[in-house]
């Protein structure tokens, strides 16, 4: 039975993707009456994050052939109105490939499984011991962290049995079966569109200035890696990193600092880059006589550019990276706890807080336009005729007639659940790796690795996301990078990998006969490489990339289309697009002014007691009255 909704709005927003959600929040914030619909039962559309179960359901829906579209009941249209059926051509996911690399059920002794389970539960239910280890250490799920924790608990006899103990703990922990993983489905948050935030990027600034930041929590990306000379290396990104790194010689360090400084000095930009306006960033770097080592760091890891990137574009990208350093953590990046899919929801919440109406599992079946096709009157949703002054719509729902000039670009995505980090360290890392184009033909691949401290997966596992521009299929496009970084052979969890752990970094060579073959690193021969992560489960898919589409050509003047996920690392594109749409609708109004905090509002007669921090019960009061007043005054 469908719910009856009020029938008149200032803005109807269809789809809860990133741009749509920001626009919804911005309109509601200035007192506009907003209805926000999504035909899915979840928020975010192609921007969503799912737990393991949710992702399975999503895949099922994707695999279903397009439902025969319901005919729109033209009789519902009023006189002088035309109905245009909503479409779905840009929400179609293709080349979906899911694969398991582990047994469905582990034929283990029940005792083993039991104790493994206990070990895990202990890890979670003794926050006190986590606390004792101190912030950060509790987050470590590597062997080092684990053993340290056991020591702190005081029931671990060492040192002689230390190694055996570590190994046994590890063995139990690694004993993942499909069923066990599925049982832990709630501990996963897997992103369809994983995005990082530049610490001084437009989204971070918007979250702070609008006060939406209070709805979300983040973690700093702990390291930036690059792939150079056939292996992974950390990229020195801060000044301290540059000075402490051993991968760059002292003269190189000076060269690098000089180059980065000149990229940052805007005033001298014209002089510095004179003559390079039409040349590539690589040509500029070459003119600076950078060593190939440094070229690689700057081009691929810092600017995250390619050989074709134009000079000024490369400089801007370098600036973006450098400007975001030093604000939060060691790298320029933040990652949202529980995944990128949280961010649209934060904007939706703000929209709701200011009166926006939310209805999931509710579709816009048709767009109602006037007889001339110049103006949108509203939408047909189920049996309801809903009128609106403006319609904002995710491109996935747009009628084909609204987007005639769409390019056929796409994203190639890979999601991998693995049993260890691509480059183990003593603490759990949150990693960004921009994998350079392997040969001229391939696109760079963005690799993001997250662990359980971001709630991406259960403890002991990692999630690796790969994204690149679509050329063929996701599987094909990502294959080379997958093979360099991950172990994608089936593993029944016995001999081969059971005695491998981080310590085997030192012993990997003696065990060279095992299934693992870190071929990339062997080539250098300088040091033994850590074993590649075993993939437990993987998913490949392609989805449309619509950020290049021209959305204004074929739509009525009060209809605004929003792109799906784009290739960029951050949400910058969506923020920009949302702001543009908002400004077209309400040119006079402020875009997401700061929402009030409860603490900052002082009640009448309470003047001067704003510093409520020390107040005791009963004295500190909230903004229940102030908030609504403010909202109403703007209507």
């Amino acid at each position: 039975m469908e719910d009856d909704l009020p029938t008149e709005y200032d803005v109807i927003v269809v789809g809860t993707g990133m741009t749509e959600s920001i626009v919804a929040a911005a309109a509601s914030r200035i007192g506009k009456k907003v209805l926000h619909l999504d035909s899915n039962e979840y928020y975010g559309g192609l921007w969503a994050s799912f737990n393991f179960d949710g992702l399975q359901k999503w895949m099922e829906e994707c695999r279903q052939p397009n439902k025969p579209s319901e005919t729109v009941d033209a009789s519902k249209a009023k006189e002088g109105e035309k109905l245009v059926k909503a479409g779905n051509q840009f929400s179609t996911v293709s080349n979906l490939e899911e694969k398991w690399y582990i047994l469905e059920e582990v034929a283990d002794s029940p005792e083993g499984q039991l104790s493994s389970k206990i070990t895990q539960t202990e890890g979670e239910e003794h926050p006190a011991s986590k606390a004792a280890v101190g912030p950060g250490e509790g987050a470590a799920s590597s062997l080092g962290g684990e053993s340290e924790k056991l020591e702190k608990e005081g029931n671990c006899e060492k040192p002689d049995s230390d190694e055996a103990k570590d190994n046994s703990v590890l063995n139990q922990r690694e004993n993942w079966s499909q069923n066990k993983l599925k049982k832990e489905y709630r501990k996963f948050n897997l992103d369809l569109a994983p995005k990082l935030l530049f610490a001084r990027g437009s989204l971070v600034e918007l979250l702070i200035s609008s006060n939406i930041a209070r709805y979300a929590e983040f973690r700093s990306v702990t390291r930036v890696l690059t792939w150079i000379n056939g292996r992974l290396e950390p990229v020195p990104c801060s000044r301290a990193d540059v000075f402490s790194t051993q991968n760059v010689s002292v003269p190189e360090k000076r060269m690098l600092m000089k180059l980065l400084s000149s990229c940052l000095e805007n005033e001298d930009a014209n002089k510095e880059f004179e003559g390079f306006e039409d040349k590539t960033f690589v040509e500029y770097l070459k003119s600076k006589k950078l060593t190939s080592n440094l070229m690689h760091y700057v081009l691929y890891a810092i600017a995250m550019a390619t050989e074709n990137t134009l000079c000024m574009d490369g400089v801007n990208r370098t600036q973006r990276f450098l400007n975001s350093l030093g604000r939060y953590g060691n790298t320029p990046f933040l990652w949202p706890m529980y995944g990128s899919g949280e961010i649209p929801q934060c904007f939706c919440r703000l929209c709701a807080v200011f009166g926006g109406l939310y209805h999931l599992k509710r579709a816009a079946d048709a767009i109602i336009i006037d007889a001339n096709g110049e103006k949108c009157i509203g939408i047909m949703s189920g049996q309801q005729h809903l009128e609106t002054a403006n319609l904002v719509m995710g491109v996935g729902y747009a009628p084909p007639d609204f987007v005639k000039t769409a390019p056929s670009g796409g994203l190639s995505r890979g999601i991998f659940v693995t049993d260890r980090s691509i480059l183990p360290s003593d603490k759990e890392s949150l990693t960004l790796l921009q994998f350079p184009p392997l040969d001229g033909a391939r696109e760079p691949v963005t690799v993001i690795e997250v662990g359980h401290t971001t709630n991406a997966c259960p403890k002991g596992l990692y999630v690796v996301h790969m994204t690149c521009k679509q050329q063929t299929t996701a599987h094909e496009d990502l294959k080379a990078v997958v093979e360099h970084l991950l172990h994608v052979e089936f593993s029944d969890g016995t001999v081969a990998r059971i005695d491998t752990d981080i310590k085997s970094t030192q012993t990997a060579h003696q065990e060279g006969s095992s299934a693992e073959n870190p071929e990339g690193a062997d080539a250098s021969g300088e040091r033994p490489a850590a074993l590649k992560p075993q993939v437990l489960w993987s998913l490949f898919f392609n989805c449309p990339e619509t950020s290049q589409c021209d959305f204004s050509a074929d739509v009525p003047s009060n209809v605004f289309l929003c792109s799906g996920p784009d290739l960029d690392l951050d949400f910058e594109f969506s923020v920009k697009q949302a702001k543009e749409i908002f400004t077209k609708m309400y040119p006079e109004s402020e875009f997401l002014p700061r929402a009030p905090d409860p603490e900052e509002i002082v009640l009448e007669g309470e003047e001067g007691s704003g510093e409520g921090a020390e107040q005791k019960e009963g004295e500190e009061q909230g903004d229940a009255q102030e908030g609504p007043k403010e909202a109403q005054s703007e209507e």
Binding site: D3, A213, T453, E611, E617, G622, K629
Partner: protein, 212 residues
């Protein structure tokens, strides 16, 4: 935000200060916002409009050696068409599921919300069931014993409350405060150590600000 950071530091006062996220759940019009208004401001409005603009309130409760600061989240109406976002539950250490003792449906829905919490929220969440509008005893349709039995079965705190008369309002928050683990490092759904809320300048990122 500065106050929030400050509030978590002991500031030389007695005992420690713990901050918890508490979410409200329940059907529209059962009195979720009224309960919070009564608790936070000591006020009651007979014809309280549905919550606009103020879906995020704070209030402190003093226990013997601890000050518990509640960061109270209201649904902002997103429950109305069953469209509450999962982010609402994230990191919530406590929840009050509210029903109206004069409306049987709302009690049924309360049970659904409890299930939803068990499905979506942190496994250690402290849940309280509040049978609100206890001042309307003459219109009662949900029996005290029935709700009490249900709460016991599911390990919930239970009280009948009245936002209008203030009956059991402070008490239910106090009961929750008592039941919450007071170790400062304890938090919901795995958020530990280095998670952060974004604030205007990093200076405000006091150690206490990022661990709730």
């Amino acid at each position: 935000m500065a106050n929030r950071g400050g509030a978590q530091r002991p500031n030389g006062g007695p005992g420690k200060i713990c901050q918890f996220k508490l979410v409200l759940l329940g059907e529209s019009a059962v009195g979720k916002s009224s309960l919070v208004l009564r608790f936070v401001k000591g006020q009651f409005h007979e014809y309280q409009e549905s919550t606009i603009g103020a879906a995020f309130l704070t209030q402190t409760v003093c226990l013997e050696d601890t000050t518990v600061k509640f960061e109270i989240w209201d649904t902002a109406g997103q429950e109305r068409y069953h469209s509450l976002a999962p982010m609402y539950y994230r990191g919530a250490q406590a929840a009050i599921v509210v029903y109206d003792i004069t409306n049987q449906d709302t009690f049924g829905r309360a049970k659904t919300w409890v299930k939803e919490l068990q499905r979506q929220a942190s496994p250690n969440i402290v849940i309280a069931l509040a049978g609100n509008k206890a001042d309307l005893a003459n219109k009662r349709v949900v029996e005290y014993d029935e709700a009490q039995a249900y709460a016991e079965e599911n390990g919930l705190l239970f009280m009948e409350t009245s936002a209008k008369t203030a009956m059991n309002v402070n008490e239910i928050f106090l009961a929750i405060a008592k039941k919450l683990p007071k170790n400062e490092q304890v938090s919901g759904a795995g958020s530990s150590g280095q998670t952060r809320r974004l604030v205007e300048s990093e200076q405000q990122k006091a150690p206490g600000n990022c661990c709730k």
